[in-house]
């Protein structure tokens, strides 16, 4: 590896296992934002996102030895976050409710565009809550995180073909809801 190239997630994970806390800090810096967006999009309340991200990353570090590198570290962490959100949702018995109004705050600089985008995002977020969990997570990993079907399948414990089918079902359902 050339010195100018940033270290890979695999090398950071190995460094953390060897006791390098700087490597762990870099993993947090790289992936915390993506995990937060994933959690919020999957239905976590804004006020819960920080705690859930912290818990997801902690669990990730605790189980980092089980990450084999077949899935990207980001999709693997998103999968842990998804499980965490499911547990949190069960504990709160569905307390997490997506409100369309919450996301319709209008930016004063571009009121019309922002309002339209915000409304679309709110509708999408609400629509995502109506999907089965696997469809929702596959859709977000693919459309939001830009993961390939292979790594989604590895993270979620399914096949690339099944991940593709889940994605297309999700797209079809969301198109209906958004139209």
């Amino acid at each position: 590896m050339r010195p100018s190239e940033p270290p890979t997630d695999a090398s950071l994970a190995a460094a953390w296992r060897a006791g390098d806390e700087g490597a762990a800090a870099e993993i947090v810096r790289r992936h915390a934002g993506a995990v937060a967006r994933f959690l919020y999009s999957a239905g976590a309340g804004r006020s819960d996102v920080d705690d859930l991200v912290q818990e997801a990353l902690f669990r990730g570090f605790r189980r980092l030895e089980s990450w084999r590198g077949e899935a990207s570290l980001r999709s693997w962490l998103c999968c842990i976050a998804g499980n965490l959100l499911k547990d949190d949702y069960r504990r709160s018995r569905g307390r997490t409710v997506v409100s369309i109004e919450d996301d319709q705050a209008v930016d004063q600089a571009n009121p019309l565009d922002e309002a339209t985008a915000s409304e679309s995002e709110a509708r999408l977020r609400a629509g995502l809550q109506t999907l089965p969990r696997l469809q929702r997570e596959v859709f977000l990993m693919r459309a939001q995180q830009g993961c390939e079907y292979g790594e989604i399948a590895a993270a979620l414990g399914t096949t690339p073909g099944a991940a593709r089918v889940h994605y297309h079902h999700a797209v079809k359902r969301l198109k209906e809801l958004m139209s």
Partner: protein, 175 residues
């Protein structure tokens, strides 16, 4: 694979800015309503939660402290498990060392000579308290010739006459 399928596969990377649409793809997006609505959906999804921020400076020490503590605890648990395993093996070895020889001793069958010798020792042990005179008597009995004791299998026929010997022979033949 149809053009629509190919477009669908390329949408996430185009939405994240990792690739640009070609002129042909742009034309397809403009003419295909299905692809256009999917494209809108993917773009919206890729922007979803962009305003959700995480304070990594505050988050990192929290996560690392917990991870460090968990690592120490995991190491302690692993060492404890190893110690328990070693202790278990040691206990098992001691139990085996105690039980196996005792079991073998119980199963051990001494050679015939040893058994006879042991039996003799028991008989002699009964005579331990006997007086010398009594011991002499016992020894004298052991020393008596076998012939003098007589046997049913070896009757004394010397005192019989011819007819008595004939009747004795007949009775043997009949039996």
């Amino acid at each position: 694979m149809s053009m629509c399928d190919e477009m669908s596969d390329r949408m996430p990377s185009a939405a994240s800015g990792r690739r640009e649409w070609t002129a042909e793809e742009r034309a397809h997006l403009a003419s295909c309503r299905d692809c256009a609505s999917e494209w809108t959906l993917v773009v919206t999804a890729s922007n979803l939660g962009r305003d959700v921020t995480v304070d990594t400076a505050a988050l990192t020490p929290l996560v690392l402290n917990r991870a460090r503590a968990a690592k120490v605890e995991a190491t302690r648990q692993r060492q404890l498990r190893q110690m328990m395993a070693v202790a278990g093996l040691a206990i098992a070895a001691v139990v085996l060392l105690l039980l196996v020889p005792a079991r073998n001793k119980a199963r051990e069958v001494p050679p015939v000579g040893v058994m006879v010798e042991a039996r003799g020792e028991l008989q002699l042990a009964e005579l331990d308290d006997a007086a010398p005179a009594e011991l002499e008597m016992v020894l004298a009995e052991f020393d008596d010739p076998v012939e003098t004791t007589g046997s049913l299998d070896d009757p004394d026929l010397e005192g019989l006459d011819i007819s008595q010997m004939d009747s004795a022979l007949r009775s043997w033949e009949e039996s």
